[in-house]
Symmetry: C2
Subunit: 193 residues, 2 copies
DNA sequence: AATGTTGGCCAACTGGCGTTGACTTTAACT
DNA sequence: AGTTAAAGTCAACGCCAGTTGGCCAACATT
């Protein structure tokens, strides 16, 4: 066993805690995940979690520091925007461990006010801005962004959180061919506001 | 204070427990809701909850024994089905306490395996069947039902659970004019399976 | 080598949980 | 009126959570 500097030991422990916390928050939500269970999975003492992250809530905040890395839809030709958007999200979510953060937020947001706040913040700052930039009519931009959010989050909810069989069975190609046109429709259809 | 028969007292207590339980399960999910907090809201002793419902889990099952009462989409002319469907769900959810069931299930399903099973059961049995009956091509019926479910549940999630500001601001008419055509599109568009 | 510092473990405290059983009160029945 | 069964209360149990502080060992510093 190689000797490690204290810094390195510390860094590895911190990371092990974060990995275990992300996995458990995503799988079980906030309240079902315990400091003790995270510590057990990271193979350290519960008190170390407190030392490094202060409290359970602070650990949750650290575990959900999230960036959607959305593409700029405004620079995509109209008619291909829905396709680009849904491909982006699928790539993000289907990748190894890439969907953890969203699953954490959705699983926790339903029961935890702080998680719900974080979802609101992330979506308002990122998704809404990108969608609004891709819409011509500023009067309906916010409404269209909201509707796109419902479709995107609904897919994530059904596929990764609820794991509805009919939805998990869908191939990525089927989802792209089904949802892409829906997003295009939401961006362009006539909308009563 | 009027005298009550024992039966009537019992019935009122049972009902008060159920009302409080539904409200709290919907607002906080399964594990955050406690027998004690339900009893406090119903203004009775925690042990009464145990007497009437046996256990916390049984109380949850009793609180989620409801019916979506979905309309038969197959008997609606094509082109109006999305409109009818979204109107139905909005009427169901916007009504007084009508959205409790769905909020309970969504709020709890994310963190509780039993609640997730119930969501799967309810949706598979009710929503999926109705949608499948309204689709001509049996090869794509299940996929279309799944995609419609993502849109419907996504709307419910964003509007009633996460309460995203951009989504709660939408008027029912805006939602109808925006989502109705989306559902029609999902029912009829070409779909790669 | 002696010191201070840091990572880590252990044991304990506090508090809230679901649940139980004994007790008291109230309505129903004879 | 007196008995019985049901509705409701009370106090406690055992458990597990988050959190804390004291302790030890390994490292860094001088």
């Amino acid at each position: 066993m190689a000797r490690l500097t204290q810094q390195e030991r510390s860094r590895r422990t911190r990371e092990a805690i974060l990995v275990a916390a992300r996995r458990q928050f995503a799988a079980q939500g906030f309240s079902q995940t315990t400091i003790r269970s995270v510590a057990a999975e990271a193979e350290i003492d519960p008190s170390m979690v407190m030392r490094y992250y202060g409290s359970k809530r602070d650990l949750f905040v650290a575990a959900t520091d999230l960036d959607l890395a959305l593409p700029d839809l405004a620079s995509v030709p109209a008619g291909e925007r829905g396709d680009v958007a849904i491909r982006h999200f699928l790539a993000l979510w289907e990748g190894e461990a890439g969907d953890d953060l969203l699953r954490i937020l959705l699983a926790s947001a339903s029961t935890d006010p702080e998680a719900a706040d974080r979802v609101r913040a992330v979506l308002a700052a990122q998704l809404e801005k990108v969608v609004a930039a891709a819409v011509d009519d500023p009067a309906t931009a916010r409404a269209r962004a909201a509707l796109v959010a419902t479709q995107i989050l609904g897919l994530a909810l059904c596929r990764y959180v609820l794991r509805l069989p009919a939805v998990t069975e869908l191939s990525p190609d089927t989802i792209i061919s089904g949802v892409g046109p829906v997003i295009d429709l939401l961006l362009t259809e006539r909308l009563d506001v």
